[in-house]
Assembly symmetry: C2
Homo-oligomer: 337 residues x 2
C-alpha cells in the first residue's frame, strides 16, 4: 500500500501539497495538481482513513440506531430505511454503523459502543427511541436526526412521514368505493405516526359528513402497545362485536392489517366484499397476502437517503434552527379494498 509520502516523492513535491490536492484545498498550480493527480492514479494511492481521522478528529462513521423490536420483528421497515442510508453514504464518505437499543435503555450502561467511544460524527434515530438517549445526544452535542418519530412539544432535526395525508387519502378512497362504516385498529399513540394516521382517518370521515363522537368511539380500537398482528386480531373481533354493519377497517400499519385479514378469513368473511381492509407502510409481505393488501406506500429507501442528506448537512454546517422534512406518501389500491 502506497502512502502520501510515496506519492510526494514520486511526484517530486512535498506531502503537504499532495494533501492539499487530495482535499481540494488551498491553491495549487495547475501543473503541480496534474502531476500529483496522475501520480495518485499510477500508484493507486488511497488515503488511510484512520490516519486522516486521527488528524481531523472526524470518525467517518455514522450510527444508525433502531429499537431492537423494530429491527428484529416483522419490521422490514427500518432495515429498508437503513439500506437507503447505506446507498446514499456509498457515494459519499461515511460508513453507517447499525445497532439496536432496548426499550428500557439506560445511558449509563447500555450506551452503543460507537457513542461511548465517539466513533461517529452523527446519529440517525429511526422510529420510537428512548427519550433519555435523545437527551444524552443533546448533552453531548452530538448531531442527530430523528426519523419517523417525535416528542410532543419538542422540535428536532427530523424526517417525518406525511401520515395525515396518507390516511386521509386511504379513507377518502374507501368512502368513494361505497364503504360507510369504517373502523380503525391501531397501536400506541405514543408513536406520533399512529396518532397522525388516526387523525387523518377521523378528518377524512368528517370531510364526508360521516362520523361523530359516538361513531369514533364505537369504530375505533386502540391498544396501548407496540403494533402486532395480535392487535389486529383482537381489534377486528372487538369492532365486529360492537358493530354489525362494519364494512371496512383502516389499520395503523400493515402488520396490524395482516392480523385483521387472517382473523376475517378464519371467520369466513369475504375481503373486500364484506369488509375491506387497508393498511399503511407497504411492507413487503403486504403484496403476498391474499388478497393482496391495499395500503399507503411509504418510500422507505427514500427516507433513508433523505436522512443521510440531512445528518451530513448538520454535521458539516450546524444549523441554528432544527429542520423538519416531510416525506409524502401514496395510496396503493390492491385487492383487499
Amino acid at each position: 500500500m502506497s502512502t502520501i509520502k510515496d506519492v510526494a516523492k514520486k511526484a517530486g513535491v512535498s506531502i503537504s501539497t499532495v494533501s492539499l490536492v487530495i482535499n481540494g484545498k488551498g491553491y495549487v498550480a495547475p501543473e503541480t495538481r496534474e502531476k500529483i493527480m496522475s501520480t495518485i492514479q499510477e500508484l493507486n494511492y488511497k488515503p488511510l482513513h484512520s490516519a486522516r481521522k486521527l488528524a481531523t478528529k472526524m470518525t467517518g462513521n455514522i450510527g444508525y440506531i433502531v429499537w431492537d423490536v423494530h429491527f428484529s420483528e416483522v419490521e422490514i421497515f427500518y432495515s429498508q430505511i437503513f439500506l437507503g442510508m447505506e446507498y446514499a453514504a456509498r457515494d459519499s464518505e461515511h460508513y453507517i454503523l447499525l445497532t439496536t437499543v432496548k426499550e428500557d435503555f439506560n445511558p449509563k450502561t447500555d450506551l452503543p459502543r460507537f457513542l461511548k467511544y465517539r466513533d461517529v460524527d452523527g446519529v440517525v434515530l429511526a422510529g420510537r427511541v428512548p427519550h433519555n438517549l435523545i437527551k444524552y445526544l443533546e448533552d453531548q452535542n452530538m448531531p442527530f436526526v430523528i426519523v419517523d418519530y417525535g416528542i410532543p412539544g419538542k422540535v428536532y432535526n427530523s424526517i417525518v412521514i406525511d401520515n395525515f395525508n396518507g390516511a386521509f387519502q386511504a379513507i377518502d378512497q374507501l368512502i368513494k368505493s361505497g364503504k360507510k362504516k369504517i373502523g380503525f385498529v391501531g397501536g400506541s399513540f405514543y408513536h406520533p405516526s399512529i396518532k397522525e394516521r388516526y387523525r387523518g382517518y377521523k378528518e377524512a370521515l368528517e370531510a364526508h359528513g360521516i362520523g361523530n363522537i359516538e361513531y369514533f368511539n364505537n369504530y375505533s380500537f386502540i391498544k396501548e402497545e407496540e403494533t402486532s398482528p395480535e392487535i389486529g386480531q383482537n381489534g377486528i373481533n372487538q369492532l365486529l362485536k360492537n358493530n354489525e354493519n362494519l364494512d371496512a377497517v383502516f389499520c395503523c400499519n400493515d402488520t396490524t392489517a395482516i392480523g385483521v385479514m387472517n382473523e376475517l378469513k378464519a371467520q369466513n368473511k369475504s375481503i373486500p366484499k364484506d369488509i375491506a381492509v387497508v393498511g399503511f407502510d407497504d411492507i413487503t409481505s403486504s403484496s403476498f397476502c391474499s388478497p393482496a393488501l391495499s395500503t399507503v406506500r411509504v418510500p422507505k429507501l427514500d427516507i433513508g437517503k433523505q436522512a443521510y442528506k440531512l445528518i451530513t448537512e448538520i454535521i458539516y454546517h450546524p444549523k441554528e434552527t432544527p429542520q423538519t422534512r416531510t416525506i409524502s406518501v401514496e395510496y396503493i389500491k390492491r385487492k383487499s379494498s
Copy 2:
C-alpha cells in the same frame, strides 16, 4: 476527552505503561496496574480508535456483504444474520459495516468502499455472492468467511446450514402423518442450500421406500432462478397438472411456500387436508400466514454469532486449513401440515 497522556501524567507513569495496561500486555507491577486502572476510571478515559488503528494497522471494522436482492426483498433472513453478528460484535471490538453488491458485480468498478480503502480486517459473505468477489478477496489476502453458500469443488472458511437433515426431517414427518405423494418446489440449484434440501427430500422418501426416477421427475418443479412467491405459484400449478393425487408439497424455502399456499387458497384447496405445505427457513411471515406455515427453523441470529466468531478467529489466528461449521436446524410443525 482525556487522552493516554492525561492518564499517564495523573497516574505518574509513562504512556507506554498505560498502554500496556490497557492492552493487557507485558508485565506491569500490580500496584502500578491498580493505580493506572483507577486513574482510567476517574478520568473516564477511552482510547481513541483511529489512533489505535493507525498504530496497529487494524481497522476495527468488519464488512458484511450481502446480495442486494437478498437484503431488499422478502428476505429478512440475511438481516437477521447481520443482527446476530452485530450482537456478537457489540461485546467485542468491531463495527460491522453492511453493504450490498449487485448480481453483475465487477471488481474494477463496484468494489465496496470498505474493501477499496481496506477499512475492514475481514469480511463475511452472506448467501450467494459473485465468484469474482471471492477471488478478489483471495488475491488480496483478505480474511473472509462464507455463510450459507459454497462453490462446488472449493473449500473455504464457512458457516453452513444442515440443509440435508432439515429437509430429511420435514419429509419424514410428512410421511409419518400419512402423506405419500409429496412434491418439491424450488429455485436455482446454483445455491447449494437448495440443492441440499432437494437431496434431503429425495433421500427421505427413498428411506421410506417411496420414490423412483419417474416419481421425482413428476413431483419436482425446479426453476433456475432466484426463489420467489411466483415460483411457488407456478410450481404448484405445474405439479397439480401432472399429479392428481398430490397430497403435500415441500418447498425450498418459506418465500416459495407462501406463493404455493396463496395459489392453493385461490383454488379453494384445503391446507393441510387436501395438500400439506412445508417450507424452510422460518422467516417471520411464516407464522402470520394462514394457516401458519410448517417449516424448518434456521437459527439466523445464531448463524450471525457463529460467523462473527469464526471471522475473528481467522483474523487473529490465520488458519492453514479452511474450517466449515455446520449449524443444525429443527422442524417446526404448525398448521399447514
